[in-house]
């Protein structure tokens, strides 16, 4: 098992490029067998959403994501881990969040990426508010019990 790696964590308004982040973890290396990438996108199922606004807690957002990412590197033998979370206004189809987990073994990469997402959903200080297509102010998105349940399975 390789030494514990230092995760890359970024909280930013700008978009990200998944391919570039994958390349950053794998370039020049021959010890990585598996890379699992999760991209979370702004979704609009029924055409009623014009945007999602993501509010965040600057400082704590980075700190909390780093805590979660470090826990993942302790639980799984990862060779690389990147977590990027955006804030601000997102249009349907825009990127919101990216997790890239690299490992010599696929199961570790899958589990670490899934763990990261479950904890980001329930522990990272971000709040989504809808902006409706008809111009009316939208609602704050309610937290889902299923997300708490998803987090609880890692205990």
């Amino acid at each position: 098992m390789s030494a514990r790696i230092e995760p890359i964590v970024r909280v930013q308004a700008e978009d990200f490029d998944a391919a570039q982040e994958i390349a950053r973890l794998t370039a020049g290396r021959t010890d990585i067998g598996a890379v699992v990438t999760f991209s979370g996108l702004c979704r609009d199922e029924n055409g009623a959403l014009s945007a999602l606004e993501l509010e965040h807690y600057p400082g704590m957002a980075e700190a909390e994501i780093s805590r979660i990412a470090n826990e993942a590197t302790e639980r799984w033998p990862l060779t690389g881990l990147t977590v990027i979370h955006r804030y601000g206004m997102m249009r349907p189809g825009d990127n919101i969040v990216l997790v890239v987990a690299a490992s010599s073994h696929r199961q570790a990469a899958f589990e670490a990426a899934s763990f990261l997402m479950d904890f980001l959903k329930t522990r990272a200080p971000f709040w989504k508010r809808e902006h409706r297509a008809d111009g009316t102010p939208g609602e704050w998105v309610a937290a889902k019990e299923e997300d708490d349940a998803a987090q609880a399975r890692w205990r």
Binding site: Y57, L120, P125
Partner: protein
């Protein structure tokens, strides 16, 4: 003196994003803080009407409602997170 910070609909209902405040001596725990703030005016009452639903961070780390507020520099109140 502690900096209180509010996010999302907690911020909107209270009507400000942050404030510096001197907590009275009887406010020992996070729970005490929520109940004390709730009495301040209608905005706070509206934001904190279900105090058990409010999430709290002390010095930018999650804290449960039993934790002492101690000599915290910064306490943040917010709804359950919906990022990711």
């Amino acid at each position: 003196m502690v900096k209180l910070r509010y996010f999302a609909w907690v911020r909107e209902r209270i009507g400000k994003a942050e404030e510096d405040i001197v907590l009275p001596a009887e406010v020992m725990s996070v729970r005490d803080l929520l109940l004390w703030l709730k009495e301040r005016d209608e905005g706070y009452a509206n934001a904190l009407q279900h105090p058990e639903a409010i999430r709290v961070a002390i010095n930018q780390e999650h804290a449960d409602h039993n934790e002492p507020v101690g000599s915290a520099r910064e306490i943040a109140l917010f709804p359950p997170m919906t990022g990711g």
